[in-house]
């Protein structure tokens, strides 16, 4: 199994993703610099978190123009598995692989803490290792994680099971609904219509080793690997 982890100037979760895929899941990992126009042959792509281009203009807005993004768009179009975490989610929205946008958190602050997520759909290539409505304890670390989209898009996402993760807690005085950033319908992660592109603000790679407090994020990567092993349509694509 070969996984491409992309590094933009300002990415800071790329090494965590490489660690999880290489050291925990024994995958072959290619660390692809954003200036590369090709992903070589790989089975899945991870766009990690961080602050690509310093979040200048808007989070993800400039990363959209990196040469590697063309290859990723083509890879996704051919059905390849792509996961964007945090800044990766913002980039996927900017390039249009996922609908909607991520705007400033409701409380105007950078929020870095663990949150509780509910798995809303286990019939995806990214969540099959979880139980339906399983609660996960996973960190978030973002200032622009407030998911917005027009009513029609939200309706489509909700009615087709494309809201994959939702914030449910912890409920605190400043966040009585357990929605830390103000996302519409507490949306924390969505997939595209074809089901091969996931964007999520929480960091599963930071919840993948017991030594740092939680392994609840492992299921995302385990699900991807299982899908790749079971489904021939996800066979290695050369882009």
């Amino acid at each position: 199994m070969k996984v491409a982890v992309v590094t933009f100037p300002g990415s800071n979760c790329d090494r965590d993703c490489i660690y999880v895929m290489r050291d925990i899941f024994s995958c072959e990992v290619h660390n692809v610099f954003h200036k590369e126009a090709s992903l070589c042959d790989c089975d899945a792509v991870i766009i990690p978190g961080g602050f690509s281009y310093g979040d200048y203009l808007r989070a993800g807005a400039l990363a959209k123009y990196s040469p590697v993004m063309k290859a990723i768009q083509q890879f996704a179009k051919q059905g390849g598995l792509v996961i964007g975490i945090c800044n990766g989610f913002q980039i996927l929205c900017e390039v249009g692989l996922l609908p909607g946008a991520l705007v400033r958190n409701r409380n105007v602050r950078f929020i870095s803490r663990n949150v509780e997520l509910r798995v809303e759909n286990t019939e995806t290539a990214f969540t099959s290792a979880y139980e339906q409505e399983q609660l996960l304890w996973i960190p978030i670390a973002h200032a622009e994680g407030n998911y917005v989209a027009d009513d029609k898009t939200i309706e489509e996402l909700e009615s087709s099971g494309r809201v994959v993760f939702r914030y449910t807690g912890p409920k605190r005085q400043d966040v009585p609904d357990g929605n830390p950033n103000g996302s519409i319908n507490s949306i924390a992660g969505i997939i595209n219509e074809q089901g091969n592109v996931l964007g999520m603000m929480p960091h599963p790679e930071r919840a993948s080793d017991e030594r740092i407090g939680s392994t609840d994020g492992l299921g995302v990567f385990r699900s991807m690997i299982t899908s790749l092993q079971q489904d021939a349509s996800y066979a290695a694509l050369t882009v």
Binding site: L57, R58, A61, L62, K64, Y65, C93, E94, G100, A101, V103, R104, N105, R106, N107, V108, N146, V148, A149, D150, G182
Partner: protein
């Protein structure tokens, strides 16, 4: 020639920065202010060219890069 592009949030998109500034001003007794929206102003220095040509170029980069059409609108100001 020099141009300006003004990028602002669409109506209905939460603008917590504008909201916070508004609330602080209100606390300072500025009751005549009803709302504040914060946007961006981008100054662009470009080759001298026909106004329509410049407008087309700026519209293209604004639509594709400077503004996110989902959450923002833009206005171009040419000399």
């Amino acid at each position: 020639m020099k141009a300006k592009v003004f990028v602002s949030y669409r109506d209905g998109v939460l603008d917590p920065q504008g909201q916070t500034i508004y609330e602080v001003l209100k606390q300072h007794g500025h009751d005549s202010i009803h709302s504040i929206r914060v946007g961006k102003m981008i100054e662009i220095d470009l080759d001298d060219m026909d106004t329509n040509q410049a407008k087309a170029l700026l519209e293209e980069i604004s639509d594709k890069m400077l503004a996110n059409p989902i959450t923002e609108t833009f206005r171009i100001e040419l000399p």
